[in-house]
């Protein structure tokens, strides 16, 4: 099993809060090397999240690049709000900020793609995985992608962040702009839907 496919193999790549503040100060000073360090620290995880959400490597790279450029653009404002050696600087976590941006961008792109391809969006999304999506993805060689890709957008994000990326529920909830109770409910539904889809798949064979 490769590193990307094994959840436990992904060690958290957190930088300390104070370190994040210094990095943002350098980004605010338009230091390209700071951006390179940031990419080295976070781009791989962000790309995994985006890829598991969209299933498209090129799309995932675009999402990560857009998130990084947003941070580059907003670095002066963030640095102003988190001056060095302050309590705010200690609490600054760039990884969480980037994960939230990447997750939201991925959900936006999924919705946009669905809108463009289907013409109209149903009032309420059916939680059940679509059979054609399952079959198509399975034939492409990845049951995991089929199972995860058949979930509704936010349930998919919950599974990607907590199972594949092993984020604590609180951090995943923050990435989705949800409170912890609502996120746990969402995660519960996502796991149940995943098991239901898997059981249907296994039972059908």
């Amino acid at each position: 099993m490769n590193a990307a496919a094994t959840p436990l193999s992904h060690a958290p790549e957190h930088a300390a809060g104070g370190g994040d503040a210094l990095l943002v100060q350098r980004l605010a000073a338009r230091d390209a090397e700071a951006l390179r360090e940031l990419i080295a620290l976070h781009a791989a995880r962000l790309h995994r999240i985006a890829w598991r959400m969209t299933g498209d490597a090129q799309e995932a790279e675009d999402i990560v690049q857009e998130a990084l450029l947003r941070l580059w653009d907003q670095a002066p404002r963030i640095a102003e709000r988190h001056p060095p050696a302050s309590q705010a600087a200690e609490g600054l976590r760039i990884a969480g900020w980037l994960q939230r941006v990447v997750t939201n961008l991925a959900i936006d792109r999924l919705r946009r793609t669905r809108r463009l391809s289907h013409g109209e969006v149903p009032d309420r999304e059916d939680d059940a995985p679509r059979a054609d999506a399952l079959a198509e993805a399975y034939e492409a060689g990845s049951l995991a992608r089929a199972l995860v890709g058949a979930l509704p957008d936010r349930q998919r994000a919950a599974i990607v962040l907590t199972y594949f990326e092993e984020l604590p529920n609180a951090e995943a909830a923050a990435a989705l702009d949800m409170n912890i109770k609502a996120f746990e409910s969402l995660l519960h539904r996502a796991r149940a839907a995943l098991r239901q889809a898997f059981a249907a798949r296994e039972g059908g064979e």
């Binding site: 790279e61 690049q65 098991r195």
Partner: protein, 307 residues
């Protein structure tokens, strides 16, 4: 745990289970080579400035902004309505503008502004505004006493006087408008002598009209006083009966109208008291009026076979 028992379970996905093994399949593609260089080049390239922070993002002041807009809107409506009332626009559009005193009296339910029981509807508010009335007589229900009838006459007179003043003001306004229109068009304005002649002609016409009406009013009032003295209660319809017959009313129907205003018993007695010729004439008039009131039958679309 079997697949069946896991089907509706939202608990954690344990390592080693079939689902965990299935999710572990496949590989995440790595970032393409040169990704960091592309991002840095894009960051350093000139790009449009980011959009400013949305003003509505802050929830602290959004309520105040909404309230501020509502207050400004309400103040604007009040200002426009006050300006329209002050310039007389509402009167020109025939929109009644009650005074504060009348409104308050209607809310408080004071006696001066409670004309609902009075048979003459237009008079009570004017009486309420009339300070010269020493002790207004209340009218409860139908008018059945000479005092109530006198009070009704007084209210009717007050309304007439008020209408006369309004007509004079309207005439003055129209004359002023016409003078202003001629002035704006560059045409010669009437001289004071011409204006005086016009006003005199208008006053004469009004006086002739008043004189013509006065005799009928006196006659009607005498009739009403006679009926009240006989103990007959007068209703709103009696008080508001027009002095002159309607244009569509056929001539000679006064006797028929009087009969219709009577109570059934009185009507029977009045008919018995008439001469046979008079009864026949009234019956003929009644039939003619009914024939006029009924719609004419629609003409046949096709001639009958006999024609």
């Amino acid at each position: 745990m079997s697949i069946e028992t896991q089907a509706h379970d939202g608990g954690p996905i344990l390592p080693g289970t079939p689902l965990a093994r299935a999710l572990g399949e496949g590989a995440v593609p790595p970032l393409s080579p040169g990704f960091a260089d592309r991002v840095i080049a894009a960051a350093e390239a000139p790009r449009p400035a980011p959009l400013p922070v949305s003003r509505r993002r802050s929830g602290r002041w959004s309520g105040w902004r909404t309230g501020q807009r509502l207050a400004v809107g309400a103040a604007g409506v009040v200002a426009l309505a006050s300006a329209a009332a002050a310039t007389g626009l509402l009167q020109q559009l025939a929109i009644p503008v009650p005074s504060a005193r009348i409104v308050w009296a209607s809310i408080a339910g004071t006696a001066k502004a409670a004309p609902a029981a009075a048979p003459v509807p237009a008079a009570p508010p004017l009486v309420a505004e009339e300070p010269a009335a020493p002790e207004p007589v209340g009218i409860a229900g139908p008018i059945d006493t000479p005092e109530e009838l006198g009070e009704a006459f007084r209210r009717v007179d007050a309304v007439r006087e008020k209408r006369r003043e309004m007509r004079r003001a309207l005439v003055d306004q129209r004359i002023a408008d016409e003078i202003a229109r001629r002035r704006a068009a560059g045409r010669p304005e009437p001289t004071p002598e011409q204006l005086a002649q016009v006003r005199a002609r208008i006053e004469e016409a009004q006086a002739r009209r008043d004189e013509a009406v006065a005799a009928k009013v006196q006659e009607r009032r005498a009739e009403l006083e006679k009926r009240v003295a006989a103990g007959e209660p007068l209703t709103r319809r009696d008080m508001l009966r027009p002095l002159t017959p309607r244009p569509d009313q056929p001539p000679g129907s006064e006797a028929l109208e009087n009969l219709r205003r009577m109570a059934p018993r009185e009507r029977r007695e009045a008919l018995r008291a008439m001469s046979p010729e008079e009864r026949a004439r009234i019956a003929e008039e009644y039939r003619a009026r009914r024939a006029m009131a009924q719609p004419a039958p629609a003409p046949s679309a096709s001639p009958s076979p006999a024609e």
